[in-house]
Symmetry: C2
Subunit: 216 residues, 2 copies
Amino acid sequence: MAATRRVGTQTSGTRDLLLDCAERLMVEEGYASVTYRKVAAKAGVTSGLVQYYFPAIDDLFVAGIRRANERNLRQLTEALEARPDDPKRVLWEYSRDEAATSVMLEFMALGNHRKSIRSEIADATNRVREVQLAALTSYWREHGNGEDPSPAAMLFLMTGLPKMIQLEEGFGILAAHEEIVALVERYLDSGAWGTDRGNQPNVKAPTKRPRSRPKG
Amino acid sequence: MAATRRVGTQTSGTRDLLLDCAERLMVEEGYASVTYRKVAAKAGVTSGLVQYYFPAIDDLFVAGIRRANERNLRQLTEALEARPDDPKRVLWEYSRDEAATSVMLEFMALGNHRKSIRSEIADATNRVREVQLAALTSYWREHGNGEDPSPAAMLFLMTGLPKMIQLEEGFGILAAHEEIVALVERYLDSGAWGTDRGNQPNVKAPTKRPRSRPKG
DNA sequence: GTCTATACGGCGATAGAC
DNA sequence: GTCTATCGCCGTATAGAC
């Protein structure tokens, strides 16, 4: 509601500038440093002006989540289209991107007790999930063998495990993360869950995961 | 360091009272409501007195994490001793406890940008993990068949999946949570990962998971 | 050792001046 | 559209009463 509000001209460069500054502050110092006063200082304006565009501080976060999610959706779609032969590997690698996950975890932490942010994250996640599930499902219809986990379960594993691993690693929690990763990658390489073709592990992709997805 | 500080007599009832009030505030309203002034009001003392026992607000959280972790460790040990025939099921059910997980997630959110809290959580988690891994490992030595995931990997799955599920559910993220749960429980019932005995799914435990572990 | 009183700067939010 | 002034709450520091 308030989140949808758009103050100023639609072409307002100021608004985008403020979002850029807020996003950089968030990445560099965490959400606790995203305050009206600090965003204003970074953008070279007064804090009142920031409040003009984002009447409540959560409006700023919600707008940031939306913008970042649009970026992610675009990138995900491209990655899926570029590699239609193995969507589950695409999702696994997509979810293992560190920058994007750390920002998502940051937002989740922030949303833990801020209703408007929490539901914005749910919406964003569900939109991404829709695309992911569609890709897995259509692949499953052609190649699935009826015994393995369903597309929805596969999706949870391919996207949930990397997030859990990164969450724990960020805290310094010891766990068999490398072993889990190796386990999944062996599974992906085996071509399981879609067995009518050999499913070579990599046509051209290296064995290393990407590390450079934009941080939003 | 500052966290180790102990002001007042060791038997100070005031200190424990303050920790109780802080914990209740945390559960009822979230960590954002755990402030010197609110804890003091709840305990019927001045905020200065709270500061006397916990010079920085994070000291209060750290002390709370420690106390809660001791409770959890005690309960986990009892549960493992009561059911030595299937430690992985004990860990699965232990990790599916909602109250304990939600408080842990609360602390993780809090620790996301508070160094002293983050490392206290890591310590607490690793201490619990040590006990869990020891139980799984000794079971694995007697019953394992050498092909399935290692004890450490099994531990990550049995404890990590429930946390991920609860994290997502708390946000309203749609995912195949029920299917994953069913999948794991079918796996547990099958007696896999320790196949020399039939491993009846339940000797006396009901199929429902516990819901009442103390919230720390 | 325990506890109170007070002050300071930073925060989100609001009302209103230009 | 832009910016200022002000409010109440926050964590923290300190001085001192009992």
